[in-house]
Symmetry: C2
Amino acid sequence: MATIRDVAKLAGVSVATVSRVLNNQGYVHEDTRKKVEQAIRQLNYKPNAVARSLYKKTSKSIGLIIPDITNPFFPQLVRAVEETMYEAGYTVLLFNSDEVLKREQHIIDLMVTKYVDGIIIVSNTIKYEHLKDLSIPIVALDRVISQEIPSVSVDNYEGARKAVRLLIGKGCKKIAHLRGPKNVFTAEERLRGYMDEMNSQGMETFVYAGNYELNTSMVETMKLLTENREIDGIFAGNDVMAVGAIKAITKLGIHIPDQLKIIGFDGIELGTVITPELSTLKQPIVQLGKKSSELLLNYINGNEKVLRHYVYQAELIERDST
Amino acid sequence: MATIRDVAKLAGVSVATVSRVLNNQGYVHEDTRKKVEQAIRQLNYKPNAVARSLYKKTSKSIGLIIPDITNPFFPQLVRAVEETMYEAGYTVLLFNSDEVLKREQHIIDLMVTKYVDGIIIVSNTIKYEHLKDLSIPIVALDRVISQEIPSVSVDNYEGARKAVRLLIGKGCKKIAHLRGPKNVFTAEERLRGYMDEMNSQGMETFVYAGNYELNTSMVETMKLLTENREIDGIFAGNDVMAVGAIKAITKLGIHIPDQLKIIGFDGIELGTVITPELSTLKQPIVQLGKKSSELLLNYINGNEKVLRHYVYQAELIERDST
DNA sequence: GTGAAAGCGCTAACAG
DNA sequence: CTGTTAGCGCTTTCAC
């Protein structure tokens, strides 16, 4: 690996001059610039990012902490973040935390020592108190952690109400909610939306536990449908659970959407892949990723002074399950 | 951010001593160690990884290049790699390349300047010539790039033959293959397996184009089935295509598996989510990720001297589509 | 316009 | 056992 010194020697100049042409700043005579560029090419010299980082205290990299890439909601999000960051010249360090606080904290410590320029985090476990001493920019994605941490998220509450309204509009009389995991921000918001909408319409509520995961959802749906044969509408906490429910319903020989209508939340690809195709509240996943990255970049570059919370609306997508 | 100098001053020792207790090497008196540790705690000091990297020419990070995290095959793979690396104290830099050679090369250059300790790459486009001048360890994952680059992959050829044999064993008389994209290693191998097995059984072959993607597969399946009503078995190049095919078949009112049997390749979760559940050749995805990471770590640590190629067998999983 | 030199924070000889 | 010091490769004053 050639160093700046090698280049300087070959070009017959000082390292300072090489540095100047490298960074395109300060005065340097056209002829010397030529010589230096020639030497750079000849040696196939690439400036050492680590040395640069040490001096500049910036690494041109950001950390991305998500619960689990294996959850179908995240690949698109990660892709969008990675892409936006890459275009801006930043590298992303990816971490799966499983929302384990200890692990998240360890990851953050690690990042600090690596001089990451910023952090995007998707987490329910982490709180403001764990973040407040951090001197690097951070943005919360998909969930709002606290008022003090900028965030980019979706209006889960309003989305849930829309979902319920659709079911009601389609004539459902008994609508159940397969809720997401307790203490998970998005799940609580969606539940709240369901409750409020149902109550405001004077309808009885039926809430079943779930955890955003397929198999549990199948089991729970079986239970739900045997306990209460009159349920004719289900609002699932997310698309994965909706798909699980559909499997269970199909197995029971109940016809969708004639006998029972079901709607999910998220808008992941899976919903268009199954039969019947799933109606859902589609989150603007790519936009979430992109926006959070841009916001973080703004903070990093000092272009953004005030604390911002962006909230997107989920879009109702009617397919064949309602 | 406190530095080693601050710690040294507070503890009343030299930086060398602090470094010694930090790295737990060399002699240091129990009492001084205590003092230093106390100072470290007091300042909440964390050694600067960048400075360390500069000196040691190692960053405790590795690069992972995949085509597209959005493709359902990759999340599990990435997860496995990230996990194994994390446990070994390494951070992973993730890149989506879309298999664009220029981009891959740029990514690799970038990584070199960042002193990554090794690279795991999933790619069909990159060749040995692009890698041969690299001085850092590299391992090819899921595809073999060349004899000179260590790799961890699956026996796609044999897997394909197994798939075809199952279809034949189940009584299929006319078996078509929905092939994956041209020039993609895995796709070519699976095609070859199909051809060889069919030929060895003296059966006529029917190959239809595809690109590992769902919508094209639906369209192509429609075409296939209208062109040739007698097809009673389909070996899809991967699970995603198989799911597309199933959608098309269902739409045509053809019953699976009675009238037509179908089998995929990969063993992604999607296959268990749809109805009917998909028979497939399951790749040991997590193992692939884990093994490639361990292999890379071995190269990094100099424990592995010889060039290794690990090949796993895909496992036949019979579900409801055959 | 250009070069010398200090220093980013750490590690590893080398002395003592 | 402990301290001094010379770098790792780069950027940036500050002279000239």
